[in-house]
Assembly symmetry: C2
């Protein structure tokens, strides 16, 4: 679905920006990124960093001017061509703060293209959209990705299923023990995607929710083995197995 | 390698104990577990919990007497027979505090049989053995496992390889891009184990360490895809893929 990235320069600071990137372009960083480069990373004019925007590949850029509230970069040359991340969405019942931060970061490292909180009957955590966005950007910068996962607004499970896009498959991790193992289910499926993976809340889906999901045509119920996992563990495990079997590993 | 566990009673508190378990046996809890059952879980005499010791299966037990510093349980009957966890050891360069707690908990949920910190050239975190032991026990109690992973003492990479047991295979996650993908390497291998998975430190192995590992006969170099992962993410991803391909999922 995707080819391996070229090796990239670990030593270089990487920044995600919204601007178009091309040779000779000028990029002006906002106050937050200016503070990060100038004060945290202690960069000076003339030093170089890497920029990516999810569209134009990764570019080497030189610091042209450092001000108090803005920093000007001049784009020098392409370092890696844009690659396409497989369409793999993580739908998850929110977990609490620190576990959510880690989940969002690690899902980004594992190559999700989108994340979306799903509210179920037994969900009792809420999420902060802007915090998730900050987390996916930081993780994308550090992981060498050339794009940033989309952070979709939270949705109730019933509304999610009612508006389900045609052609998209839904892998749903079922705690009932008769579902097929995830790797086997993926190998058997002839679908090339797009895919979504749905992980329930710590307390599990209700019987009614499970029945609805079992009867939902695009859904495949899968098992993640004999042990009970916390929902953030289950999400990461399912993403890793997906990438190994159907994804870009 | 193992069969699915019988479904177990989610509502029941589960405790790991050192005592032998058999019908009619009396188990006396220490002060810590007494406090947990009496004050945290607010259990009274006559209520039941589940006990396991890694050898005799899981047993239903009734609280016979609650004292200030000890609690007496009477073992009633077997609820699940003992199962054997596949021999899968996680060798990891330590990460820092909270990430280490999560890693150890999640590795337990993912079914490792042993964990062991490995000191490499670029390792800069240290571990607390007793904290890891507390974490694996708690995670085992919550995950429905019938055993607790062994927590082995930390070891230097060179000493680890020098004393390597015959017949054990070593999966080593190599950041160089020419290694085989993990799932493919596992499917090709005709070994039934035992297996160890080695994850390097955040800064990676040194060139010298990588050369040593590449030349080490029991080792298989594998790739975990095109993105750079933090070492705790890589450890969890490798364990999940192992369980899906060679393990007990």
């Amino acid at each position: 679905m995707s080819t391996a990235l070229e090796p990239f320069d670990f030593a270089k600071t990487r920044l995600y920006v919204g601007d178009d990137l091309a040779e000779g372009a000028e990029v002006v960083l906002d106050q937050g990124q200016t503070h990060y480069l100038a004060n945290v990373m202690r960069k000076s004019a003339g030093e170089t960093v890497l920029l990516f925007n999810g569209r134009d590949g990764e570019w080497l850029a030189e610091i042209a001017k450092i001000g108090k509230k803005a920093l000007n970069l001049r784009v020098l040359k392409l370092s890696r061509a844009q690659t396409i991340t497989p369409d793999l969405e993580l739908l998850f019942a929110p977990v609490k703060k620190l576990r959510l931060d880690f989940l969002v970061q690690k899902a980004t490292e594992l190559g999700v293209s989108a994340i979306r909180p799903v509210i179920t009957r037994r969900t009792n955590a809420r999420v902060k959209q802007d915090r998730m966005v900050a987390n996916v950007i930081e993780a994308a910068e550090q992981s060498g990705r050339l794009d940033v996962p989309e952070v979709k607004p939270e949705v109730r499970l019933d509304a999610l299923l009612a508006e389900w896009p045609e052609g998209r498959r839904l892998i749903f991790c079922d705690e009932a023990r008769d579902a097929a193992p995830l790797a086997e289910a993926l190998e058997k499926s002839d679908s090339d995607g797009p895919w979504s993976i749905l992980i329930g809340p710590e307390g599990g889906f209700t019987d009614e929710e499970r029945e609805t999901l079992r009867g939902f045509a695009p859904a495949i119920a899968v098992s993640l083995g004999p042990r009970i996992m916390r929902s953030d563990t289950a999400a990461l495990a399912a993403l890793a197995v997906f990438q190994a079997v159907k994804g870009d590993w």
